[in-house]
Subunit: 186 residues, 2 copies
DNA sequence: GTTGAAGACTTCAGTAGTAAACTTCGAAGC
DNA sequence: GCTTCGAAGTTTACTACTGAAGTCTTCAAC
């Protein structure tokens, strides 16, 4: 889940086949089958992100805020991390985390306090309200995902998952980690 | 293709199974199979975007610039569009397009001139250099995509494409278009 | 015990985006 | 032929991010 926020409107996309045709016209060496898979993948992902983004708007938080809540929930109780650690996990600079935390504190979704045992450190902790907000996002996301996959039976889902994981492993191998900023979340 | 640019480093991600386990621990109602498919999809897409982004860095352009080149190439000769039309296609505000075009003009990848037949309008046209730059991105992207899909035989590729398109159709139906910004491209 | 270096976070300057105000050209009404 | 309206782009104000500089605490060395 990630996505959407601004609102200049969604891009006006060509039909998938028209897009592939344009690629073939302008760059004949392209393999249409490969391009179709890749383009569909990107487009599906984008649409999903738009959907998640709308759900977040309904819940009154931005996807930037959601990312932070998710990172805190995933580490488990007592739902604490330092700003620097959060920044690494989210792929942001510490400076950006400072501001995100400011907003979340203002909204009561996390607290920020100095670590008394080691006063250089700061501890960001999820509040009950923050945890509840995250649970709400999960309920909406799960409903959307169930609907999205409703046309696929169990074996199709398994096959899709297996192929995606195979592809994922291949990119991760060639991209041992490190790297360039990204855009989305899980 | 879209992606990466900044450089606070890539997010430090949990292992896929560990991530699913965390979701199950914190939100037991979740369907692990569904979550696995969705998470793998998002993660694969992100990794791909990182890869595309690196290629663009190597070629000396940003993904913002690349989006504009692509839109112009896709319309075909004489590779012309107005700023407003470009903004709609890319899902940006006209204001943002003004600045993107500024940069592209400075780099010689597009030209901007008033439409003499209708002096309210501006015409953005791809230069030969801009078209060549786009072709270079396609050559790199195609090589990466071939490598990515090398483990899949033709029927697996076809099956994957078919499923993705089925899912895409479902989201597009429930999301008749309109609305929230997005992040990636094709 | 004071000094110096390292680490963790924040602050500052610069960039790219949105939203909204503004400017200009073209078309229509009278 | 002037006036008004609308469409197309640009400018302005504000937000969120990066990268680099700055501040404050801790730890090690002397």
């Amino acid at each position: 889940m990630t996505a959407a926020a601004g609102s200049a409107g969604a891009p006006q996309e060509l039909d998938l086949d028209a897009q592939i045709a344009a690629y073939q016209r302008e760059f004949p060496e392209v393999d249409p089958q490969v391009e179709k898979v890749v383009t569909a993948l990107g487009r599906l992902n984008r649409r999903m992100n738009v959907a998640y983004g709308r759900q977040l708007v309904d819940l009154g938080i931005s996807s930037a805020e959601w990312e932070v809540l998710k990172a805190l929930v995933v580490v488990g109780r007592p739902y604490r991390l330092g700003p620097g650690d959060l920044a690494k996990r989210l792929g942001l600079t510490p400076a950006a985390m400072t501001h995100r935390i400011d907003r979340l504190v203002t909204e009561g979704l996390v607290t920020r306090e100095r670590d008394e045992a080691n006063r250089v450190r700061v501890i960001v902790e999820l509040t009950d309200e923050g945890r509840e907000k995250w649970l709400q996002t999960m309920r909406l996301a799960a409903a959307f995902e169930d609907e999205l996959l409703q046309d696929l039976n169990t074996s199709e889902r398994a096959a899709l998952g297996e192929i995606l994981i195979r592809l994922l492993r291949r990119v991760e191998d060639s991209q041992p980690d490190a790297g360039g900023r990204l855009e989305d979340l899980d």
